[in-house]
Symmetry: C2
Protein backbone atom coordinates (compact mmCIF):
# COMPACT_ATOMS: atom_id res chain seq x y z
CA UNK A 1 0.00 0.00 0.00
CA UNK A 2 2.78 2.39 0.92
CA UNK A 3 4.60 1.33 -2.24
CA UNK A 4 1.50 2.05 -4.36
CA UNK A 5 1.04 5.45 -2.74
CA UNK A 6 4.69 6.24 -3.31
CA UNK A 7 4.37 5.19 -6.95
CA UNK A 8 1.40 7.51 -7.50
CA UNK A 9 3.30 10.31 -5.80
CA UNK A 10 6.31 9.75 -8.05
CA UNK A 11 4.14 9.72 -11.17
CA UNK A 12 2.41 12.95 -10.12
CA UNK A 13 5.74 14.53 -9.23
CA UNK A 14 7.11 13.60 -12.63
CA UNK A 15 4.03 15.08 -14.32
CA UNK A 16 4.17 18.37 -12.42
CA UNK A 17 7.92 18.85 -12.82
CA UNK A 18 7.46 18.61 -16.58
CA UNK A 19 5.18 21.67 -16.53
CA UNK A 20 6.51 24.59 -18.56
CA UNK A 21 9.25 22.57 -20.19
CA UNK A 22 9.71 22.05 -23.90
CA UNK A 23 7.50 19.35 -25.41
CA UNK A 24 7.91 18.52 -29.12
CA UNK A 25 4.95 19.25 -31.42
CA UNK A 26 4.72 15.54 -32.15
CA UNK A 27 4.09 14.87 -28.44
CA UNK A 28 6.09 13.93 -25.39
CA UNK A 29 8.89 11.42 -26.00
CA UNK A 30 10.13 8.64 -23.76
CA UNK A 31 13.80 9.48 -23.01
CA UNK A 32 16.21 7.20 -24.90
CA UNK A 33 18.23 4.84 -22.71
CA UNK A 34 21.86 3.90 -23.21
CA UNK A 35 20.92 0.23 -22.78
CA UNK A 36 18.48 0.40 -25.75
CA UNK A 37 16.86 -2.68 -24.23
CA UNK A 38 19.98 -4.89 -23.98
CA UNK A 39 19.94 -4.80 -20.16
CA UNK A 40 18.53 -1.83 -18.24
CA UNK A 41 20.42 -2.80 -15.07
CA UNK A 42 23.86 -2.70 -16.68
CA UNK A 43 26.13 0.32 -16.73
CA UNK A 44 26.72 1.00 -20.43
CA UNK A 45 29.61 2.85 -21.97
CA UNK A 46 28.34 5.50 -24.38
CA UNK A 47 31.16 5.41 -26.94
CA UNK A 48 33.96 3.07 -27.99
CA UNK A 49 36.58 5.46 -26.55
CA UNK A 50 34.75 5.41 -23.22
CA UNK A 51 34.48 1.61 -23.30
CA UNK A 52 38.20 1.20 -24.01
CA UNK A 53 39.05 3.61 -21.18
CA UNK A 54 36.91 1.71 -18.67
CA UNK A 55 38.23 -1.64 -19.90
CA UNK A 56 41.86 -0.58 -19.46
CA UNK A 57 41.41 1.16 -16.15
CA UNK A 58 39.29 -1.60 -14.57
CA UNK A 59 41.05 -4.57 -16.18
CA UNK A 60 37.80 -6.00 -17.54
CA UNK A 61 37.15 -7.17 -21.11
CA UNK A 62 34.87 -5.01 -23.25
CA UNK A 63 31.92 -6.56 -25.07
CA UNK A 64 30.70 -4.58 -28.08
CA UNK A 65 27.23 -5.35 -29.47
CA UNK A 66 26.42 -3.97 -32.93
CA UNK A 67 22.70 -3.93 -33.66
CA UNK A 68 19.91 -2.07 -35.45
CA UNK A 69 16.42 -1.24 -34.24
CA UNK A 70 14.79 -2.32 -37.51
CA UNK A 71 16.65 -5.65 -37.73
CA UNK A 72 14.53 -8.59 -36.51
CA UNK A 73 17.62 -10.74 -35.80
CA UNK A 74 19.05 -7.99 -33.57
CA UNK A 75 15.72 -7.59 -31.78
CA UNK A 76 15.33 -11.33 -31.17
CA UNK A 77 18.90 -11.65 -29.85
CA UNK A 78 18.40 -8.58 -27.66
CA UNK A 79 15.37 -10.13 -25.99
CA UNK A 80 17.08 -13.40 -25.06
CA UNK A 81 20.24 -11.64 -23.85
CA UNK A 82 18.27 -9.10 -21.79
CA UNK A 83 16.21 -11.92 -20.23
CA UNK A 84 19.14 -14.24 -19.43
CA UNK A 85 19.93 -13.82 -15.73
CA UNK A 86 23.40 -15.36 -15.93
CA UNK A 87 24.53 -13.38 -18.95
CA UNK A 88 23.30 -10.14 -17.39
CA UNK A 89 25.03 -10.95 -14.09
CA UNK A 90 28.30 -11.83 -15.83
CA UNK A 91 28.15 -8.71 -18.02
CA UNK A 92 27.49 -6.55 -14.97
CA UNK A 93 30.22 -7.99 -12.80
CA UNK A 94 33.00 -9.00 -15.19
CA UNK A 95 32.63 -6.94 -18.38
CA UNK A 96 32.47 -3.42 -19.72
CA UNK A 97 29.50 -3.22 -22.08
CA UNK A 98 28.79 -1.10 -25.13
CA UNK A 99 26.00 -1.36 -27.67
CA UNK A 100 26.27 0.55 -30.94
CA UNK A 101 23.96 1.22 -33.87
CA UNK A 102 26.68 2.96 -35.91
CA UNK A 103 30.09 1.64 -36.87
CA UNK A 104 33.22 3.11 -35.30
CA UNK A 105 36.31 4.17 -37.23
CA UNK A 106 38.23 1.14 -35.84
CA UNK A 107 38.28 -1.46 -38.60
CA UNK A 108 39.43 -4.10 -36.10
CA UNK A 109 35.82 -4.22 -34.92
CA UNK A 110 34.70 -5.52 -38.32
CA UNK A 111 37.18 -8.35 -39.09
CA UNK A 112 34.84 -9.96 -41.65
CA UNK A 113 32.64 -7.01 -42.54
CA UNK A 114 29.97 -4.75 -41.06
CA UNK A 115 26.73 -6.54 -40.24
CA UNK A 116 24.27 -6.88 -37.37
CA UNK A 117 23.85 -8.43 -34.91
CA UNK A 118 27.60 -8.70 -34.26
CA UNK A 119 29.46 -9.24 -30.99
CA UNK A 120 33.16 -8.48 -30.53
CA UNK A 121 35.26 -8.81 -27.40
CA UNK A 122 38.15 -6.48 -26.66
CA UNK A 123 40.88 -7.31 -24.15
CA UNK A 124 41.90 -4.64 -21.60
CA UNK A 125 45.19 -4.53 -23.53
CA UNK A 126 43.01 -2.99 -26.32
CA UNK A 127 43.39 -6.06 -28.55
CA UNK A 128 40.22 -6.99 -30.43
CA UNK A 129 39.66 -10.70 -29.77
CA UNK A 130 39.05 -11.84 -33.35
CA UNK A 131 39.55 -15.41 -32.09
CA UNK A 132 36.28 -15.34 -30.13
CA UNK A 133 33.60 -15.98 -32.74
CA UNK A 134 30.13 -17.48 -32.99
CA UNK A 135 29.04 -20.72 -34.67
CA UNK A 136 28.57 -19.43 -38.25
CA UNK A 137 31.40 -19.53 -40.76
CA UNK A 138 29.82 -17.01 -43.15
CA UNK A 139 29.45 -14.31 -40.50
CA UNK A 140 31.91 -15.12 -37.78
CA UNK A 141 30.72 -12.73 -35.09
CA UNK A 142 26.97 -13.16 -35.28
CA UNK A 143 24.82 -15.17 -32.86
CA UNK A 144 21.23 -16.35 -33.06
CA UNK A 145 18.80 -16.78 -30.19
CA UNK A 146 19.73 -20.47 -29.75
CA UNK A 147 23.45 -19.68 -29.39
CA UNK A 148 23.56 -18.32 -25.83
CA UNK A 149 25.61 -21.30 -24.59
CA UNK A 150 28.19 -20.59 -27.27
CA UNK A 151 28.18 -16.91 -26.31
CA UNK A 152 28.62 -17.73 -22.61
CA UNK A 153 31.58 -19.96 -23.47
CA UNK A 154 33.18 -17.06 -25.34
CA UNK A 155 32.51 -14.75 -22.41
CA UNK A 156 34.23 -17.23 -20.08
CA UNK A 157 37.20 -17.44 -22.45
CA UNK A 158 37.42 -13.64 -22.65
CA UNK A 159 37.62 -13.57 -18.84
CA UNK A 160 40.03 -16.52 -18.44
CA UNK A 161 42.58 -15.53 -21.07
CA UNK A 162 42.80 -12.12 -19.56
CA UNK A 163 43.84 -13.58 -16.22
CA UNK A 164 46.33 -15.95 -17.85
CA UNK A 165 47.93 -13.17 -19.84
CA UNK A 166 48.35 -10.74 -17.00
CA UNK B 1 -8.91 10.01 -12.80
CA UNK B 2 -8.46 7.75 -15.81
CA UNK B 3 -4.94 9.12 -16.17
CA UNK B 4 -4.17 8.32 -12.53
CA UNK B 5 -5.56 4.78 -12.89
CA UNK B 6 -3.52 4.29 -16.05
CA UNK B 7 -0.41 5.53 -14.26
CA UNK B 8 -0.90 3.03 -11.42
CA UNK B 9 -1.45 0.28 -13.96
CA UNK B 10 1.74 1.18 -15.79
CA UNK B 11 3.73 1.28 -12.56
CA UNK B 12 2.36 -2.15 -11.53
CA UNK B 13 3.03 -3.55 -15.00
CA UNK B 14 6.59 -2.26 -14.85
CA UNK B 15 7.05 -3.84 -11.40
CA UNK B 16 5.68 -7.25 -12.43
CA UNK B 17 7.60 -7.41 -15.70
CA UNK B 18 10.82 -6.87 -13.76
CA UNK B 19 10.16 -10.03 -11.75
CA UNK B 20 12.79 -12.73 -12.27
CA UNK B 21 15.15 -10.39 -14.07
CA UNK B 22 18.70 -9.63 -13.02
CA UNK B 23 19.02 -7.04 -10.26
CA UNK B 24 22.54 -5.98 -9.15
CA UNK B 25 23.56 -6.80 -5.59
CA UNK B 26 23.86 -3.09 -4.89
CA UNK B 27 20.16 -2.67 -5.73
CA UNK B 28 18.05 -1.76 -8.73
CA UNK B 29 19.48 0.99 -10.92
CA UNK B 30 17.69 3.74 -12.82
CA UNK B 31 18.47 3.12 -16.52
CA UNK B 32 20.96 5.68 -17.89
CA UNK B 33 19.55 8.06 -20.47
CA UNK B 34 21.33 9.31 -23.57
CA UNK B 35 20.31 12.88 -22.67
CA UNK B 36 22.11 12.65 -19.29
CA UNK B 37 19.85 15.52 -18.23
CA UNK B 38 20.66 17.97 -21.08
CA UNK B 39 17.13 17.68 -22.52
CA UNK B 40 15.05 14.53 -22.13
CA UNK B 41 12.79 15.48 -25.05
CA UNK B 42 15.61 15.74 -27.59
CA UNK B 43 16.74 12.89 -29.82
CA UNK B 44 20.42 12.44 -28.95
CA UNK B 45 23.11 10.90 -31.12
CA UNK B 46 25.04 8.28 -29.15
CA UNK B 47 28.45 8.72 -30.75
CA UNK B 48 30.33 11.32 -32.80
CA UNK B 49 30.18 9.05 -35.88
CA UNK B 50 26.40 8.80 -35.50
CA UNK B 51 26.09 12.58 -35.02
CA UNK B 52 28.14 13.30 -38.14
CA UNK B 53 26.05 10.85 -40.16
CA UNK B 54 22.77 12.43 -39.06
CA UNK B 55 24.16 15.93 -39.62
CA UNK B 56 25.23 15.15 -43.18
CA UNK B 57 22.13 13.20 -44.14
CA UNK B 58 19.66 15.72 -42.66
CA UNK B 59 21.59 18.88 -43.50
CA UNK B 60 21.50 20.14 -39.92
CA UNK B 61 24.44 21.42 -37.86
CA UNK B 62 25.70 19.21 -35.05
CA UNK B 63 26.13 20.61 -31.55
CA UNK B 64 28.58 18.69 -29.36
CA UNK B 65 28.46 19.25 -25.59
CA UNK B 66 31.43 18.00 -23.57
CA UNK B 67 30.68 17.68 -19.87
CA UNK B 68 31.40 15.71 -16.70
CA UNK B 69 29.00 14.55 -14.01
CA UNK B 70 31.32 15.65 -11.18
CA UNK B 71 31.98 19.11 -12.64
CA UNK B 72 29.83 21.82 -11.00
CA UNK B 73 30.20 24.16 -14.02
CA UNK B 74 28.89 21.42 -16.33
CA UNK B 75 26.00 20.68 -13.99
CA UNK B 76 25.02 24.34 -13.67
CA UNK B 77 25.15 24.88 -17.45
CA UNK B 78 23.16 21.68 -18.00
CA UNK B 79 20.36 22.91 -15.77
CA UNK B 80 19.91 26.27 -17.54
CA UNK B 81 20.14 24.69 -21.00
CA UNK B 82 17.68 21.90 -20.12
CA UNK B 83 15.24 24.47 -18.67
CA UNK B 84 15.45 26.97 -21.56
CA UNK B 85 12.38 26.44 -23.74
CA UNK B 86 13.78 28.26 -26.78
CA UNK B 87 17.15 26.52 -26.75
CA UNK B 88 15.48 23.12 -26.40
CA UNK B 89 13.05 23.91 -29.23
CA UNK B 90 15.84 25.11 -31.51
CA UNK B 91 18.03 22.11 -30.69
CA UNK B 92 15.14 19.75 -31.38
CA UNK B 93 14.07 21.30 -34.66
CA UNK B 94 17.27 22.63 -36.23
CA UNK B 95 20.21 20.70 -34.77
CA UNK B 96 21.64 17.25 -34.30
CA UNK B 97 22.70 16.94 -30.65
CA UNK B 98 25.40 14.94 -28.94
CA UNK B 99 26.64 15.11 -25.36
CA UNK B 100 29.89 13.37 -24.44
CA UNK B 101 31.76 12.69 -21.22
CA UNK B 102 34.80 11.26 -23.02
CA UNK B 103 36.91 12.89 -25.71
CA UNK B 104 36.78 11.58 -29.27
CA UNK B 105 39.83 10.87 -31.42
CA UNK B 106 39.04 13.95 -33.57
CA UNK B 107 41.41 16.67 -32.41
CA UNK B 108 39.35 19.27 -34.29
CA UNK B 109 36.87 19.07 -31.42
CA UNK B 110 39.47 20.43 -29.00
CA UNK B 111 40.92 23.47 -30.84
CA UNK B 112 42.24 25.02 -27.62
CA UNK B 113 42.44 21.96 -25.39
CA UNK B 114 40.22 19.44 -23.65
CA UNK B 115 38.09 20.92 -20.88
CA UNK B 116 34.47 20.92 -19.73
CA UNK B 117 31.95 22.32 -20.22
CA UNK B 118 32.77 22.87 -23.88
CA UNK B 119 30.44 23.37 -26.84
CA UNK B 120 31.49 22.88 -30.46
CA UNK B 121 29.39 23.22 -33.59
CA UNK B 122 29.99 21.09 -36.66
CA UNK B 123 28.66 21.99 -40.09
CA UNK B 124 26.91 19.28 -42.17
CA UNK B 125 29.95 19.52 -44.45
CA UNK B 126 31.78 17.97 -41.44
CA UNK B 127 33.76 21.16 -40.76
CA UNK B 128 34.21 21.92 -37.06
CA UNK B 129 33.11 25.55 -36.61
CA UNK B 130 36.09 26.81 -34.60
CA UNK B 131 34.85 30.36 -35.36
CA UNK B 132 31.80 29.94 -33.12
CA UNK B 133 33.11 30.49 -29.62
CA UNK B 134 31.91 31.71 -26.24
CA UNK B 135 32.79 34.95 -24.42
CA UNK B 136 35.99 33.80 -22.66
CA UNK B 137 39.39 34.25 -24.29
CA UNK B 138 41.17 31.73 -22.04
CA UNK B 139 38.77 28.88 -22.87
CA UNK B 140 37.18 29.75 -26.15
CA UNK B 141 34.42 27.15 -26.22
CA UNK B 142 33.11 27.29 -22.68
CA UNK B 143 29.91 29.01 -21.54
CA UNK B 144 28.63 29.90 -18.10
CA UNK B 145 25.03 30.00 -16.94
CA UNK B 146 24.71 33.71 -17.78
CA UNK B 147 25.86 33.21 -21.38
CA UNK B 148 22.73 31.70 -22.93
CA UNK B 149 22.16 34.77 -25.14
CA UNK B 150 25.67 34.39 -26.52
CA UNK B 151 25.06 30.68 -27.06
CA UNK B 152 21.75 31.35 -28.87
CA UNK B 153 23.51 33.85 -31.13
CA UNK B 154 26.08 31.17 -32.03
CA UNK B 155 23.29 28.68 -32.68
CA UNK B 156 21.61 31.16 -35.02
CA UNK B 157 24.93 31.71 -36.83
CA UNK B 158 25.47 27.97 -37.16
CA UNK B 159 22.05 27.73 -38.81
CA UNK B 160 22.41 30.83 -41.04
CA UNK B 161 25.89 30.20 -42.41
CA UNK B 162 24.87 26.74 -43.37
CA UNK B 163 22.06 28.09 -45.56
CA UNK B 164 24.32 30.76 -47.07
CA UNK B 165 27.00 28.26 -47.91
CA UNK B 166 24.76 25.69 -49.58
Amino acid sequence: MIKAALSIFLVLAAMSSAFGKYIPKSGKRVPQTLSRGWGDQLIWAQTYEEGLYWSRSRGKPLMVLFHLENCPHSQALKKVIADDYNIQKMLDEDFIVLNLMYETTDKHLSPDGEYVPRILFVDPSMTVRADLNGPYSNRLYTYETGDLKHLKRNMETAKKLLKTEL
